[in-house]
């Protein structure tokens, strides 16, 4: 083996990553060639220095606060999507079970079999009700651009428990939209409690999608969304949203 060939393989040799025959050839060469033996020794020290140096640098690292926030939001959005999915599945199950009950009732009407009814009722009773599929959905479609940032409100959803506002933020002015500050929803002039506002930031860029969930609004009250500040840009972006029409859901 030539010195050049040996030196090409030295990193692999030092980590015992070569076939047995090559390992033996290089070992024999190093015994006979002081220059390559010296090279191997220096390289071993270099490998150790690189491993220790890189690991120390990584260990000392902190995550920038804006990255930490972005990750937290992405996780919340993912968890929220999971919950929504679970609700859909649950209601689909209930829907199927309800259809089965209806079919059973029909069957019982034709040929009364009490046992069948009891079984199906039990299966409906065991299904967990975790959401209200009959939310009052009001499309909005309003947008407002200030300081290079466009906010578009797409939809507001009302239920007996909460009010959800679905909106998008497009950053056209080079300002980070990672920070949405003071997002408030007013119903009849009073602020509703903010429950969560997970953000979905598409990897390909484009508008950031936010679903802000607040406490319940009463029917007939005027509803106003107010966003005070996005990143370093000041608003406020204010939207008059459709009112809740129905109560009691």
């Amino acid at each position: 083996m030539s010195c050049d060939q040996v030196r090409q393989d030295l990193v692999a040799y030092l980590n015992d990553e070569l076939p047995a025959q090559n390992m033996q050839s290089i070992a024999a060469h190093l015994t006979a060639c002081p220059a390559c033996a010296e090279e191997a020794s220096t390289l071993r020290q270099m490998c150790q220095r690189l491993t220790e140096g890189l690991r120390t640098w990584v260990e000392q690292g902190g995550c920038p606060p804006e990255v930490e926030r972005q990750i937290r939001w992405a996780l919340q959005a993912e968890a929220e999507a999971d919950r929504m999915h679970a609700r859909t599945i649950t209601w689909r199950t209930i829907g199927t079970a309800a259809a089965a009950v209806a079919a059973a009732v029909l069957l019982v009407t034709i040929t009364p079999v009490g046992g069948l009814i009891r079984n199906i009722t039990a299966s409906v009773g065991q299904t967990e009700v975790v959401g209200n599929p009959r939310a009052e959905v009001r499309p909005v479609g309003q947008s407002l651009t200030m300081n290079g940032i466009s906010v578009e409100v797409n939809e507001v959803q009302f239920t007996a428990q909460e009010t959800r506002v679905l909106y998008e933020v497009e950053n056209a002015g080079g300002v980070s939209v990672d920070e949405l500050q003071a997002v408030q929803l007013f119903a009849g002039g009073a602020p509703l409690t903010l429950i969560s506002s997970p953000m979905v930031k598409p990897a390909s860029g484009g508008a950031v999608q936010i679903t802000a969930t607040f406490g319940a609004a009463q029917a007939g009250q005027p509803v106003t969304l107010r966003i005070e500040r996005i990143g370093g840009a000041h608003g406020p972006w204010i939207f008059e949203l459709p009112q809740r029409m129905q109560s009691g859901k």
Partner: protein, 172 residues
């Protein structure tokens, strides 16, 4: 699952102490912070989706999470290798050693100044302890190419670190 905690809370509790290390690992592989941020976010979402499949309890989380991140980062490198290289500000770092770099950052300072092809193999080999074959697979290049890149990178790094050591000795 830990009693009284949602999966999201439990995942975040395990992730939080690792975030800084994961971020720097992605940065070391990808060479710039913007890509590191994207890789970390994508990896976190992937890991969260697969969280229920984690075996070995909380102790297994750091290594498991790091594997997902390294996969994500090397995927970005493979994609990047297929497009025409665009000059990024991070690639235009000065060739000479920057004054006042603390000793513990000298290795990183030298590694980050390598061309991307060389930096990636060095980081995967020495930071992530990957075998030459695993690196070849991750970057979709032949093992021979990994060896030759490492050989060139080691020569270049030796020069840079020697230069840094000499400057350091001169400054003392």
């Amino acid at each position: 699952m830990v009693r009284g905690m949602t999966a999201e809370q439990e995942f975040f509790a395990l992730l939080q102490p690792e975030q800084g290390k994961l971020y720097r690992t992605a940065w070391a592989i990808l060479g710039n912070e913007a890509d590191a941020r994207d890789a970390l976010q994508e990896a976190v979402i992937r890991a969260y989706r697969a969280f229920r499949q984690l075996r070995g309890g909380p102790a297994a989380f750091p290594a498991w999470m790091r594997r997902i991140l390294v996969n994500q980062a090397t995927q970005i490198l493979r994609r990047r290798a297929k497009v025409i290289p665009v000059e990024r500000p991070e690639d235009l770092s000065p060739e000479s050693v920057v004054d006042g770099i603390p000793e513990e950052s000298q290795v990183w300072d030298a590694v980050r100044r390598l061309d991307e092809r060389y930096r990636a193999v060095v980081v995967l080999r020495f930071l992530n302890d990957m075998s030459l074959e695993d690196i070849a697979q991750a970057l979709d290049i032949p093992v021979g190419t990994v060896k030759s890149r490492l050989h060139v990178a080691m020569k270049r790094l030796r020069e840079m670190l020697q230069e840094a050591d000499e400057e350091r000795r001169g400054a003392l």
